[in-house]
């Protein structure tokens, strides 16, 4: 495990592909597409697709101001923790046919790693000492509680469907199962779970109407209110990366097994699917809705979305 080649390989995985660099690039691409398509839907021209990249680069060059009341280590460390864990999640998700790391239980590891960027945002915002951030983190946390239940139910339904009597939490076996039996999306009992998962994506990423935590008009971007310069840029990048991680997770869970055999082509197809999913689950919903209140958001996720996921779980439980 500890020989040099493995370490180097792991570092390449984490830093370049499919980790930090690749995830950031695709994430920024998805964020750009999201803004462009949203603009067209609202009958505007919109920014160029590389605008999020420009925004990010500009923020990296700006001065960083640490608030008087802030704890410097936590304040600066939080966005990095989120960034690193997002880069790591991608190692567990099969990108096309490419699996960087495979374990028996990577689904649970993903479930936990995916909460870390949220926690990082909360802890970072909290450490800035601003009352706006205080309200923001409370909403972020309630949002997390809201989507976690349907998310867990979806993952359990997938594990049960793929594993049958044996429990399967391995992304690789899920992909293999789908290659043999067709994508999970085309099994009718999994369709409610897929819809639930599509609705979990915008809440996890924090796009309208589920952006209560960062509501610009009410609480000045909540947890981010005091952030500036490089840490703010990293948080913006984290949001873009989350878009890719979540749509990528959906693709791997429900549309895995679509393989041509050529890795590069598979990766391109994977990114295309993620782009379509971004437009479907985030841009469209964003264009046609207004921001929810936090208590409505919570109720929506624990009734409708969780209900959909539960429906799938029950169907799968009875072997359908």
């Amino acid at each position: 495990m500890f020989n040099v080649l493995n370490i180097v390989l792991l570092l390449v995985f984490v830093l370049i592909f499919p980790g930090a660099l690749f995830t950031s690039a695709v994430g920024l691409w998805l964020a750009g597409v999201d803004r462009k398509v949203l603009a067209r839907m609202q009958h505007r021209i919109g920014p160029p697709i590389r605008q999020p990249l420009y925004d990010f680069l500009k923020l990296m060059g700006k001065e960083t101001i640490i608030p008087h009341a802030a704890n410097k280590t936590v304040y600066l460390g939080a966005p990095i923790v989120g960034f690193v864990s997002l880069a790591m999640i991608m190692l567990f998700i099969p990108v096309g046919g490419f699996v960087a790391v495979s374990g028996s239980a990577d689904l649970v590891v993903i479930l936990y790693l995916i909460t870390i960027p949220g926690v990082a945002l909360i802890v970072g915002g909290s450490s800035s000492g601003s009352p706006y951030a205080g309200i923001g983190i409370s909403r972020e946390m309630v949002t997390m509680m809201a989507y976690e239940l349907p998310f867990v139910l979806v993952l359990l339904a997938v594990a049960r469907k793929v594993g049958g009597a044996n429990l399967v939490f391995s992304m690789e076996s899920i992909a293999a199962w789908q290659a043999a039996n067709g994508s999970l999306l085309f099994h009718w009992s999994m369709i409610p779970a897929a819809i639930a998962m599509l609705l979990v994506i915008p809440a996890e990423v924090g796009t309208q109407p589920f952006d209560v935590a960062e509501a610009e008009t009410e609480i000045c971007e909540g947890p981010l209110v005091e952030y500036s310069g490089a840490p703010l840029g990293l948080f913006k990048l984290n949001t873009a990366m989350k878009m890719f991680v979540m749509t990528g997770l959906f693709t791997a869970l429900f549309m895995g097994g679509l393989r041509t055999g050529i890795v590069v082509l598979d990766v391109v197809i994977f990114v295309v699917i993620c782009t379509v999913l971004t437009i479907l689950s985030m841009t469209t919903i964003h264009a046609v809705t207004a921001r929810l209140k936090i208590e409505h958001l919570f109720k929506f996720y624990w009734t409708f979305v969780a209900g959909m996921a539960l429906l799938s779980l029950v169907l799968v439980w009875f072997g359908l």
């Binding site: 960083t64 864990s85 374990g103 309630v142 997390m144």
Partner: protein
């Protein structure tokens, strides 16, 4: 030589209690010295047993006064230390030793420290005796000493009304629990004519008649009161809050673990009922309800220690659920989580004590922004909070993941939907736990500073040492979970499942076989996830790389708004430390968005937690009635 160690560890602690009472008056140094010396010797004696018991697989037996069995009946009190007992003994000695060190700094301002150390040693001795003894009635005696030492320690700061109230509740409710245990023990004596647990186990042989069912129900309910599972949890919240924090740590670290140990010993070893699905479901349902009610109550709390108390209840729910599965993996998971709970909850209580020492309050509405003044405490708290929330790579992640895996495997194997619901409950409770600790983080360590606490200082080194030790243990047991599994969990779980060795050691080789006892096959727990060490290394490398670049690049300190130094209660603070009349959202009410959706549920819970001791007593009787009723229906 080695067979004297367990009994010496217990006797020394009792002796120490008397020594402190007699010589403690002479000088504070002698008083503290005796207490710490005795606690340390006891710690060493128990740790010395790791090699023979855990690694070599011995079982140590000791007959008090050399009263060995006569004509096949155990008449004397026997101590019997197998891996299960030693596992809990290790938790017990670690907890009271660290608590003792912490007390040295923590009790600076209290009078009557002599009484404190006397009772502290009594409590430690009784819990250690409880987990090491092989005699049912001796176990009851230890429970009694434990209860009364706990009551007295709860009331230690008896100038405060809440301490007396909590102690009164604990006294009444704890006595009900003890009485139920006593009644159960008496019934067992009537049936088996012996009080030795090994012999009882072989006499009843896993079969039940009406008397033994009644006894089983009473003993399990009595131990349930000691481990504070819902609906027996009511005394815990007050007692944990009112007791000195070093004692709260002992309560959550070892007193309720003693109840858990008792339940494991009863259901797996003495009554051997865990192959029956009815008992499994009973325990899993009680466990799931406990974890859910515990965590939702914790979300509504406004006091640091009270919040931790409800989390203690909730985490014990995980343990009970896991051990209730009756599988080797479940037992491993339950023991691991029990151990981790001792570590991270002890750590969290210690940080609460540090906050109390520094600021004089644990009220979440009056705290805030302490991270700059108390950096060590803050880091320790964050380690504890991430551990209890189950974030990787801390120990809570490893044990909770084991618990989920155990429950869900059981659900799939048995096809019972109840286990699937328990899995989902466990996962959701974990998120709520995280939410609740985010609230504490915001209200105590981050957020805006309350000017009243402007002169708060970091606690003395003697109090930091136990915190840092526990924080390090939280990280190490999370990273090296496979070492823990191999040397502590697997032997302990094997001891609970392999009953015949336990019986043979006490009653003579071949005794179990003659009584027709067969062991449950302790299949090696198939448990693997990832290699956290590599990941942590990677995480640290990347994190440090980026952090150094960021921290060394140009950054400016922000300024406060003019007049920001002056304290106007209306504008100065908003989210932590603000006063109720200025805002509809309290500083510790971070999750009102969630709570408005759950209004009805909280109203019911609030009504149930009325604070009236007669109500609580009736819950205990009802809970016991449910347990006994279910057992009568299912075991006959």
């Amino acid at each position: 030589m080695i067979q004297h160690f367990p009994v010496m560890a217990v006797m020394l602690l009792f002796l120490g209690a008397f020594l402190v009472a007699i010589f403690g008056r002479i000088s504070p140094v002698i008083r503290d010295g005796i207490a710490i010396l005795i606690a340390t010797i006891s710690l060493v004696l128990i740790y010395a047993l790791i090699k023979p018991v855990m690694i070599d697989g011995q079982i140590i037996s000791y007959w008090m006064g050399n009263w060995e069995p006569v004509e096949g009946y155990a008449i004397g009190i026997g101590y019997e230390v197998d891996a299960l007992g030693l596992f809990f003994a290790l938790l017990v000695v670690t907890t009271f030793w660290l608590s003792g060190i912490y007390s040295l700094g923590y009790l600076k301002k209290d009078a009557n420290k002599m009484h404190y150390y006397t009772l502290y040693l009594m409590l430690s001795a009784s819990v250690l005796g409880l987990v090491l003894t092989g005699d049912l009635f001796n176990m009851f005696i230890m429970i009694e000493i434990m209860t009364f030492a706990s009551v007295a320690l709860t009331a230690f700061r008896n100038k405060q009304a809440i301490a007396l109230e909590a102690a009164f509740k604990y006294l009444v409710l704890g006595s009900i629990g003890s009485s139920m245990t006593l009644a159960g023990v008496a019934l067992m004596y009537r049936v088996c004519h012996t009080l030795n647990m090994a012999q009882i186990s072989s006499i009843i042989g896993g079969e039940f008649n009406l008397t033994t069912i009644m006894a089983f129900g009473l003993i399990v309910a009595g131990l349930g009161v000691k481990s504070y599972i819902v609906p027996f949890h009511t005394p815990a919240a007050d007692a944990y809050t009112a007791a000195p924090t070093s004692i709260s740590m002992i309560f959550s670290g070892m007193v309720n673990k003693a109840g858990v140990y008792g339940i494991i010993r009863m259901v797996y070893v003495v009554f051997r009922a865990m192959d029956r699905s009815s008992i499994q479901i009973l325990l899993v349902v009680f466990g799931a309800v406990t974890m859910f009610i515990g965590v939702t109550m914790a979300l509504a709390q406004h006091d640091f220690k009270r919040l931790l108390a409800f989390h203690s209840i909730s985490q014990i729910g995980y343990v009970i659920t896991a051990i209730g599965l009756g599988t080797a993996l479940g037992l491993n998971a339950g023991l691991f989580h029990a151990m981790n709970h001792t570590l991270f909850k002890g750590l969290l209580f210690l940080t609460a004590g540090a906050v109390l020492t520094a600021t004089g309050t644990t009220n979440l509405d009056k705290l805030g922004g302490l991270s700059k003044r108390m950096p060590v405490t803050t880091v320790c708290f964050l380690v504890g909070a991430f551990s209890i929330s189950g974030l990787p790579p801390f120990n809570g992640f490893a044990s909770k993941w084991m618990v989920y895996q155990a429950i869900y495997t059981k659900a799939v194997e048995s096809g019972n939907i109840l286990f699937a619901i328990a899995t989902i409950t466990a996962l959701i409770v974990s998120v709520m736990t995280l939410a609740s600790f985010i609230k504490v983080t915001q209200a105590v360590f981050f957020g805006q500073e309350n000017p009243e606490n402007a002169n708060a200082k970091e606690v003395p080194v003697i109090m930091q040492i136990p915190m840092v030790i526990m924080a390090v243990l939280c990280v190490l047991t999370g990273l090296f979970y496979n070492v823990v599994e191999k040397f502590l969990l697997a032997p302990a779980a094997g001891a609970a499942l392999g009953v015949s060795n336990y019986i043979d050691k006490m009653m003579g080789a071949g005794y179990a076989k003659a009584a027709g006892i067969t062991d449950i096959e302790a299949a090696p727990a198939a448990f693997s996830f990832w290699n956290p060490l590599v990941w942590l290394l990677l995480f640290v490398v990347v994190f440090l790389g980026v952090y150094i670049v960021m921290a060394t690049s140009k950054s400016t300190r922000g300024r406060m708004l003019e007049g920001g130094e002056g304290y106007d209660p209306k504008y100065a603070t908003f989210f932590s430390g603000e006063q109720e009349e200025f805002s509809q959202v309290g500083g510790s009410d971070l999750f009102w968005g969630f709570k408005t959706d759950w209004k009805g549920y909280y109203k019911v819970l609030q009504g149930l937690h009325s604070g009236i001791v007669t109500d609580y007593a009736s819950y205990i009787v009802m809970g016991a009635a449910i347990i006994i009723l279910v057992m009568f229906i299912c075991l006959r």
